[in-house]
Symmetry: C2
Subunit: 242 residues, 2 copies
Amino acid sequence: MADTDTDTGAKTPRERYRAQVRAEIKERAWEQIATAGASALSLNAIAKQMGMSGPALYRYFAGRDELITELIRDAYRSLADTFRAASASAPGAGLAELARALRDWALEDPQRYFLIYGTPVPGYHAPDDITAIAGENMAMLLDAAAAPAPDGPVTSTATSTATSAMTSATTALDTDLEGLGRQWADGHPAPAAHLHRALAFWTRLHGILSLELAGHFNGMGFDPGLLYAAELDDLLAHSPPH
Amino acid sequence: MADTDTDTGAKTPRERYRAQVRAEIKERAWEQIATAGASALSLNAIAKQMGMSGPALYRYFAGRDELITELIRDAYRSLADTFRAASASAPGAGLAELARALRDWALEDPQRYFLIYGTPVPGYHAPDDITAIAGENMAMLLDAAAAPAPDGPVTSTATSTATSAMTSATTALDTDLEGLGRQWADGHPAPAAHLHRALAFWTRLHGILSLELAGHFNGMGFDPGLLYAAELDDLLAHSPPH
DNA sequence: AGAATTAGTTAGAGGCTATCACGAAGCGTA
DNA sequence: TACGCTTCGTGATAGCCTCTAACTAATTCT
């Protein structure tokens, strides 16, 4: 679907071929991950599946780690594209659109979600270009968190009346958050309230998605989508004052 | 520390020895997991580390999967003990104590947390006794969510005034949650509002902990503990009416 | 057409899980 | 105490895996 490599440059026929093989390797890798998880990814199995024997894949990827890193990169890119599309859908697209897009994206391929937000391997450090994409995503989230709700909360009938209750812990966090926007999204100047809402948005929705995709809601007969919608509404109910 | 096996029965000297070896294996396994993650756990390495050669460990565990399952079981047990201790600390111990205990427990050994709440391996299904412990934990959480706050929120100065704003998504979830308590905690009859708060508590705190332990807050210079406290306060601010 | 680059092969080292058959302890009991 | 049964630990082996090295074959460039 997302042929990220097929159309890179593609000048000489060798590069074309190379890019195509790389893309097919990644495709098989994604299938394997979707069915058995990232830990069960086997270069050998992919090679055999493609009709060539073992070490041939090392012409295309330096090793298993590089392949997985590439998949992580693609996952981040895919999420960024999804966010971009959601932001472009409406002029003043806000958190609701992002939330919808995030959930759809996560449900589309749970293991891809876990490749980004799942259990980290202690030694691993993502390369800079990947953290850069993560920063882009954070920037889009911040933009949405800064934009006021169009006409009150979209999927909600609540009038945002309860905005004044400030707890001490919130103020403590907000002072910590003061003037921190510069480090996050490439020079994004954001007030603490926006950072705070962006963080709450991120952590709350991730909390639900993570537990849902991992199957922790399985026994209990309720609809995680409703919980997601309720939390989103609660988030939107405390909208920016203007 | 948590010698779950050392003191099981211990009648004949053989059983004593066996239990002790099993405990040492698990100890080494925990060390390995803490430093390299669960996917890097190697029976062979543990055996070599204990001075015996490879297949000897199969006398004590049927295989790698059984050892990991046992570690997961111990992790759930440890969390249950932690919750129990937090609940027993004060007579009307509520969500605040549970939240504190959960965070301390998670930070104490992140990989142990991820063993429960991390990336699931697609094929795996936890045995019934493990899901039973998970149910116990849910029950304790529900108890805390049902208990009214002692004298207003503990770590907060907020007066819980904003309780009346009901969004449509919330009511949709609450009708879905109606009369669901029976399935969860062994016959626990809980109103929808309590279930809802328990779920919000769980998912929000897990969302923060998961991202924090995975290092997703690393670049951004704020204190995750403050975010945790702020979210907890927000949770407690919408306390039960009585 | 010849030279240089690249693709893919087999062989092999070293790691892992897991099974099997065998010796070597230990334990309960006659 | 001495016998027999049970259990522990061993080496050997099969079958995976990652990854390196040397070699062949195909393709592209000059």
